[in-house]
């Protein structure tokens, strides 16, 4: 893969041009990573590829080696594994609350202490997610209560 960088002080908006013979999964992954830098995430729904604004995402669930991105209205599949999404999205207010869930902290509606030092999280869409004991302490630290 040839990488060309042109530095010009006169340019105000950065532009990335990808030139390829066809849209392979490798190219799609590259585009998805670039979009993530622009606060966007690529999500698949059927045969369609959708561009999701990161602020629209409520939570991401990993299930049977697949990652599903939940917005208020829809569910999309992501090509990235959960650990990769966690690495990329932490700076945008996302937090890992269990082995399978990565949640968008501003999309939390309420929190409730549960048994065994877990935390029951109610998201803005009404969905309830449990922060496991292993991750609940980290969540408390992130919220500044520990």
């Amino acid at each position: 893969m040839k990488i060309e960088i042109n530095i010009d002080e006169a340019i105000t908006d950065m532009e990335v041009v990808v030139t390829c013979s066809k849209l392979t999964p490798k190219v799609e992954k590259l585009l998805a990573a670039l979009r993530m830098m622009d606060c966007q995430l690529t999500g698949k729904k059927g045969d369609e590829i959708h561009l999701l604004d990161i602020s629209q995402i409520i939570y991401i669930e990993s299930m049977e080696r697949k990652c599903f991105v939940y917005t208020t209205d829809d569910v999309y599949e992501s090509d990235f594994p959960l650990y990769e999404l966690e690495r990329q999205l932490t700076e945008y207010g996302f937090f890992r609350v269990s082995k399978s869930f990565l949640i968008h902290l501003p999309s939390i509606q309420s929190l409730k202490a549960d048994i065994n030092r877990r935390i029951r999280i109610t998201m803005v869409n009404g969905e309830q997610i449990i922060a496991s004991r292993q991750y609940a302490d980290g969540l408390k630290k992130r919220l500044g209560v520990k």
């Binding site: 902290l105 048994i115 408390k140």
Partner: protein
């Protein structure tokens, strides 16, 4: 990340319950021991203290209480149950096991209704005292969590602007 509990954590819980109940029982022995000497195996030594076999019985019941607590207040065995129902089930089991110990080890005569009445009153009283404390603690923790969440949301909103 928090580490998982070890056998020593449970042992510490058993010894805490055991130590606390021994302290209370020894106080009862000092106060009522001589007058209740012939009535209960717990006061067989009068005001001199708790007999060794009673101490072992209390150690066993302390271990059983920790076991029951583990059963109802961890999700290892019971996954979906509300906290109030877990509390009720746990208290029911503790009450049942204590009653079995009372009858089997003759902590007091099984046909003495006033002793049973006092036992249930004491049990109910300790529940009435501890349950609101537990509820208040839970409410305070929830409030703290949600206030921290609101602060985080405000912070996120101000950085977005």
């Amino acid at each position: 990340m928090e580490q998982n509990k070890t056998i020593f954590d449970y042992l510490a819980q058993v010894l805490t319950i055991f130590g606390f109940s021994m302290l209370i029982l020894n106080l009862f022995c000092i106060i009522f021991g001589d007058s209740a000497q012939g009535l209960s195996s717990m006061f067989a030594l009068g005001s001199r203290g708790v007999p060794a076999e009673i101490a072992f019985q209390y150690l066993v019941i302390s271990a059983l209480i920790v076991g029951i607590r583990f059963l109802f207040f961890s999700d290892r065995l019971i996954k979906n149950m509300t906290i109030p129902l877990r509390t009720v089930c746990m208290l029911g089991c503790v009450l049942l096991i204590t009653a079995v110990f009372i009858i089997h080890f003759q902590w007091f005569p099984a046909d003495l209704w006033i002793a049973w009445a006092m036992f249930f009153v004491c049990f109910l009283l300790s529940f009435v005292c501890s349950y609101p404390v537990m509820l208040l603690k839970e409410k305070a923790e929830n409030r703290k969590l949600n206030e921290a969440l609101d602060r985080l949301k405000e912070k996120e909103a101000s950085t977005d602007e």
